[in-house]
Each structure stands twice: as structure tokens, then as C-alpha cells.
Symmetry: C2
């Protein structure tokens, strides 16, 4: 039997596997969300809050360079259906990492899959995982110029969460400028202001997820 070397680039091969993931998720009725933001912007805290307040069936995959600390936090918060991927140095998740991890998950038993990417504003945005929705997370203490400085994520993100909104007022942060910067990259972007301390913004965010799943 003859074999054929496809000679795909890393990006091409990632895209093929991502498309496969998207099909598998679709067939199983799973709406997948890829969550991207800086280290410390609150991705895991948002998922902990979601574990306790989002009344739908879902699983979580958490990527980190090292440790399963974040997946452990989510399991501890009450969502047992959480899985860690250690990239072992890799600065972003790949579609193949998600493909392999998704095999451990009962996809028929869930409606949503949240994927927390490695904390990084640059590299994760370039790698499709097969998600239906890419969400960027910002946070007030990071400063208000991040959208301008890291455009590739904000061109691709359908929604942006501005997190730790309870700290607005304590820090120099021009939120209207940030929103304008987001809209300059994507005029249809949906923006949420959230705080896991006060719960602000989460009802609207959860409703958005339900609405998006209806139409996928």
C-alpha cells in the first residue's frame, strides 16, 4: 500500500484537526467556547463562577504550560467535569490537544464545552481549536491599552469580557476607549463587564451563551 506525505504546515494540520473537532462537537450538540486572555486576567475565576451559576450541562478543559492547578480549582468549585492539559512548554493549545482530551469527555452528556487557553494574549489567537466562539478576557488592573497592543485576538474574538470591573475607579482605566478599540477591530463585538466578586454581568453573559448555542 502506498502512503502519501501530505507535507502540511503546522497551521494547516491544526486547521484540519480543528475542523474535525468542530464536526464532532456539532454532531454531539456541544457548543464550544475558546477563552483567551493574559495570565491573571481571571479566566479560571470566571469558570469557577460559571460552575456555580450557569445552570446548563457543560465540561471544562483548562490548558496551562505546567500544573493542573486551574482544573483543580474548577473541580473544587463544584464542576467535576474539568480536565487539565499541560502543554509542557507550549504557549497555546492546539486542536490536536483538544481532540485527544475530548475523547475522555462524555460529549453526548453536555451542551457546552469551555476551553481555557494558556494565559497569553498573542499565540493562542492564531490556533483554531474547533470552537464555535472565541472570547477574549481583559481585566482592569492590566491597563487600558491592551486591545491596541495585541490586535490579533480582538480581530477574531466574537465577544470580549472586561473582568474585575469592581476595580474600575480604583485604577486609571478608560473603559470607553477600550470598548471603542474593541469595536475598531470588530464592529459586531459583544462586550461584557463582569466581576466574580459582585456577580455583575454574568446573567447577561450566560444568556448570550444560550442565544449563541441556539443558532450554531
Amino acid at each position: 500500500m502506498k502512503t502519501q506525505d501530505l507535507n502540511l504546515s503546522a497551521q494547516e494540520s491544526n486547521q484540519l484537526i480543528a475542523s474535525g473537532n468542530r464536526n464532532v462537537f456539532y454532531e454531539s450538540g456541544v457548543f464550544a467556547v475558546n477563552i483567551i486572555g493574559s495570565p491573571g486576567c481571571g479566566k479560571t475565576s470566571i469558570l469557577e463562577y460559571t460552575a456555580n451559576h450557569f445552570d446548563e450541562k457543560f465540561a471544562v478543559i483548562v490548558g496551562d504550560v505546567k500544573t493542573a492547578l486551574d482544573a483543580d480549582r474548577i473541580i473544587k468549585s463544584g464542576q467535576k467535569n474539568a480536565y487539565a492539559i499541560e502543554t509542557g512548554g507550549g504557549c497555546h493549545l492546539t486542536a490536536n490537544m483538544i481532540r485527544e482530551k475530548a475523547m475522555e469527555i462524555d460529549l453526548k452528556g453536555i451542551d457546552y464545552l469551555f476551553i481555557e487557553n494558556v494565559g497569553n494574549l498573542v499565540c493562542p489567537s492564531a490556533f483554531d481549536l474547533g470552537e464555535n466562539l472565541k472570547i477574549a478576557v481583559l481585566s482592569i488592573p492590566e491597563g487600558d491599552e491592551k486591545v491596541r497592543k495585541y490586535p490579533s485576538l480582538f480581530i477574531r474574538a466574537a465577544a470580549v469580557i472586561i473582568n474585575k470591573i469592581d476595580l474600575l475607579g480604583f485604577m486609571d482605566y478608560d473603559i470607553e476607549q477600550v470598548k471603542a478599540d474593541c469595536r475598531a477591530h470588530n464592529s459586531n463585538v459583544k462586550i461584557f463587564e463582569t466581576s466574580v466578586k459582585t456577580g455583575k454581568g454574568f446573567d447577561e453573559f450566560f444568556q448570550y451563551l444560550r442565544d449563541q448555542r441556539k443558532h450554531f
Copy 2:
């Protein structure tokens, strides 16, 4: 004339150029510092503070994916000798970017070169720029588990700055654990606690830079 294709990997070629940079800096008496940390940890604020308080001759190169906002901030703070590199999507600076930018700088006229890398805890740590010292910057609002989650930087950093120390006490942050994690990766690491609001830690940091330059 015959040519030879060296077939170097990106890393090998970066390393060659980095060694070249290091030689050029040494010949010019320039002590080069590569500053690495998350988006929003305060790298630029630290350099603004340095521009106003570090009484030595130095230049600054600032890398960002997009915009020259940070270099502009440093120029505005009084340090005219600041230069922007836009990586145009790249998630880290490379030795060749520094080599090209350094040609614009009067190296004989300075004693220190501060290089602010792209905001990213993962990729920049793997690329030698020809610096004499790699410094990692953490900040209190990011959370206290970053050293465990992003080990590659902390294995290589000779010094760690824990910035925004004025926010300690307002946030859940176990600073003794962070220091222990740093020492677990590098038992000789020098740790500074700084705040650009109060000036805490900078005298010690500046003295450290002077001491390091004496011995390079």
C-alpha cells in the same frame, strides 16, 4: 564562489546573533537587561520610574506586537533614548530585532540597555537577545501561582521583581509562597518588591544593577 547553506534552526540562528549582540554590547561597555512579564504587570511603568530616578546613562528598547505606545510613554517620562520595535504579530523579541535596532543607538554613550520584551510569560523566555541579565516581572493583581504555571522564565531569570506591591493586602496573594516558588526554580534568584506609586524597592534594584554591571 561557492555558497554554503548552514541550515540553522530558528533557535540556532537566534543564538548566534544573540552571541554577536553580547559581544557588541561588551565591547561598548553596555550592560543589557531583558525584562519579561505578563501584559499589564508594569514593565513600562518600571522603566518610566527608572527614567526619572536611575542616575546612569541608558537606553531603552521596547517590543510590542503593535503600536509604539510604550516607547512613547518612556520618551514622555523624560528618557529620550527610547526605541520601539513592532513585532507585527510576533509573540517575543528576537536577537536579530535587537541587532538591527541597536544600530540606531549610540552604544558608546550609554552604560545600560533595558529591553522591554513583548508582554508574554511563555515565549520570550526561550529567546536569548544577547542580554547580560534576564529579569522577570510579576505583579500582585495577577495572582500568586504564576511562577508554578510558567516555569521556563523563572528557571532562567537571575532576578524577579514583584511589582504593584502597594496592592498587597488588598488581594489574596501569598508572597512568601511566590518567593519560595522562585527559589525552587533558581536558588540564587534575587527578588525585589517594588511599587512605582511609593518608590519602594527601587533603590535596592538600582544598586543591584550597578553591582551586576561591575562584574560583567
